[in-house]
Structure formats: C-alpha cells, structure tokens
Symmetry: C2
Subunit: 206 residues, 2 copies
C-alpha cells in the first residue's frame, strides 16, 4: 500500500573537511535509489569530465542569469570560478518521488537550509580532532600550517550543529553508512499523510 505523498526527500550531507562526507555519499549511492545532485560550474571541463554527470558546465553569463532568477539552492565563488546547485533538476527529481543526496561544505548547506528547509540535514563528524588531523595529514595535500588553520575553522564550524537534523560520527565507515541508511528508512516512515487521506485509502478497499 502506498502511504502518504510520494515526494522525494533531499538529504544534505555536510560536515567539516576530512569528516568523510564524500566517501560516505559514494557508499550510499552504491546500493540505493538515491540520486546525487549535480553541481553547475563556470570552470572548463577537465579531461574525462562529462556534462550532466560530473558537472553542468555553463558560461559566466548563463550562471549569472540563473543567480538573478533565484535558480540556485546555493552558490559560491572559488577564485575566479563559480559553483552552484541548480534548483530545477533537484526539484524535478523530488516531484517525481526520487530521493536526492547532496554533499556539500557547511556554508553551502546553510544556504540550502534557507532555500529548502524541508531538506534533511545530516552533519558528519570526525570521531575526534586528533583523528581529523591524522586524516588531513594523510592526504598529503596541505602544509602543516594549513592543516592547523583548517582544524581551528572546524571547531568553529561545529557551532552550526543546531541547524542540522541528524549528526553521525564517522569513526568506522560501514557503521556510519548504516546509520545514515537507517535515517533514510526512518524519514520515509514519518507521518506525512493527513488523517483524511489515510481514512480514504483504507475505506477505498472495503
């Protein structure tokens, strides 16, 4: 039996850099009906990047037009390029009943929260600051100084926790992924139908 409205849910997975949100999302996408939200960017495609798979590639003018039409769930500039999450493809999927997952840094997540408060906001936390330092160092992409700066900004980012619905500590990947899968199931068990709809549903068959 179909219960309730079949609108999809938007899951926004966010958290400090190094918490592991990217790896978690990859795992979640493996065996589920979730679809990943695709960002739009003004930067040129790199080799192997496919339009509509890795990004939607657009000109600066086109990007600006969408900004002016309030067509982004969030957007930001990084150096001379712009990045954003276009509303339309996400909304189309949600209307069709498809769940969408969106991985994003915390400033972006807060913008989405303003534009689409019905989203389910999941905060991924590292098990400890020591572990986070270890992960960031292990990447070998940043200087020790840059890592320390990142760690102190992480502590500040924790102050946004109250904007989120759920909080998952990513100590052991599989456990964190299972916890989020449980959240997806629970979210779909939430009461969304009205009493009238439910009574009609059960009366019909009689």
């Amino acid at each position: 039996m179909n219960l309730g409205k079949h609108k999809g849910k938007l899951y926004v997975v966010s958290g400090p850099s190094g918490a592991g949100k990217g790896t978690i999302c990859k795992e979640l996408l493996k065996d589920s009906d979730l679809q990943l939200s695709i960002s739009m960017t003004t930067r040129a495609p790199r080799e192997g990047e496919v339009e509509g798979v890795h990004y939607y590639f657009v000109s600066h003018a086109d990007f600006e037009e969408i900004v002016e039409k309030d067509g982004f769930l969030e957007h930001a500039s990084i150096y001379e390029n712009r990045y954003g999450t276009p509303k339309a493809p996400v909304m189309e999927k949600l209307e069709k009943g498809i769940d969408v997952i969106l991985e994003i840094e915390m400033q972006g997540a807060l913008q989405i929260k303003e534009n689409y408060p019905d989203g389910v906001f999941i905060f991924i936390l590292p098990p400890s600051m020591a572990e986070l330092r270890k992960r960031l160092t292990g990447r070998g992409t940043e200087t020790a100084e840059a890592i320390e700066m990142r760690l102190s900004s992480t502590l500040k980012e924790l102050s946004y926790i109250e904007k989120y619905d759920y909080c998952v500590v990513n100590g052991e990947l599989e456990e964190a992924v299972n916890r989020i899968k449980a959240i997806l199931v629970a979210e779909h068990s939430k009461v969304t139908m009205t009493a009238k709809e439910l009574i009609e549903k059960y009366s019909e068959e009689e």
Copy 2:
C-alpha cells in the same frame, strides 16, 4: 565519543487492534537494549503472573492514590478493574539513559502524548482492512458482528494518525520490525546536543 545528552527515549507503539503491535514489540525486545514498560493493575494476578514482570499489582486504594498524585502516564478502567502506566519507573529508566518501549491501544497513546510529548509515537497499520478482518477472524475470539464493529472503529482510529511521528505498515513482520529498528537508530542520531556542548567536547581532547 559520547555525543549529546544520554537520556533514554520512550517509544510508544500503538495502532488498531489486529495491526500486530504486540508481536512487533516482542520481536523488538529480543535483541535490543530496550526495556518494556510495565503496567499497573487492580485486578488479581492470574496463575504464573509475576509482580513487576507482567504487571504491578495494587489495590484500588493504592491505584487511586497514584491517580490523585498525577502519577500515571495514562490510565483507564476496563469493567471493574483499572489499568495504568505508572510514570515513576518509566522516568527512572529514561533518566538512566535506558530506552523504554510501551505498547498500548490508541486512547492510552493519546493520553501519554499529553503527559510526555517527548515520546516517539509509532503507529502500526495493518496492510489493508481486508487483511485486518482476516487476522481478527483468525483469532477466533470474537463474533463476526464484534469484528465488524471493531473494523469500523479502526477506520475512526486512523483519524489520530497526525498525532504520531512515524507510521509503519505491518504487512511482513520482519520488514516492519526492521523499519522500527531503523527508526530507533535514527532517533539516536538526532541532533540533541547544543553547539556549545559539541565544541567543548571536541576542544577537550586537543
């Protein structure tokens, strides 16, 4: 890492008679840290019934005293006997961080909702009215007329759906139980700590 306050949660499992809430609760209690809430009654113990396991057995005078002290989460009279859920044992468990599960018919659930709105209210639905009729008939404990009356009151009971947090259709028992287990996990992943608490937690270890 311990995140947030470690108060237990009260899960109130309710729904129409025949939806299978009793069977579901038994399954949930099998392999979990949940504890079942025990009712208090003025009726005499039946053979094999153990005080504090099946019921708390009390006199009418003692029951009334607890009612007057507002010591029940819910209570009701059935014929000449009284039944209720005493607050104190539930609250003690919750304070200790123990999750409590409480199986109850719908009028009782609504009383609990008034007395303890922090509870998590789960509505168990039969897959269809036809299946519900089949289950009630299968029990062989009621006349066809009594069953029809029960079915029509079930339709009315559905109107309380909006008072509940979650709704689980019990078509296949294992699936319904797994869905509720997911709800328990998700509930424990909800953000309950404040930003201040979280920042302190992560700063401490540095």
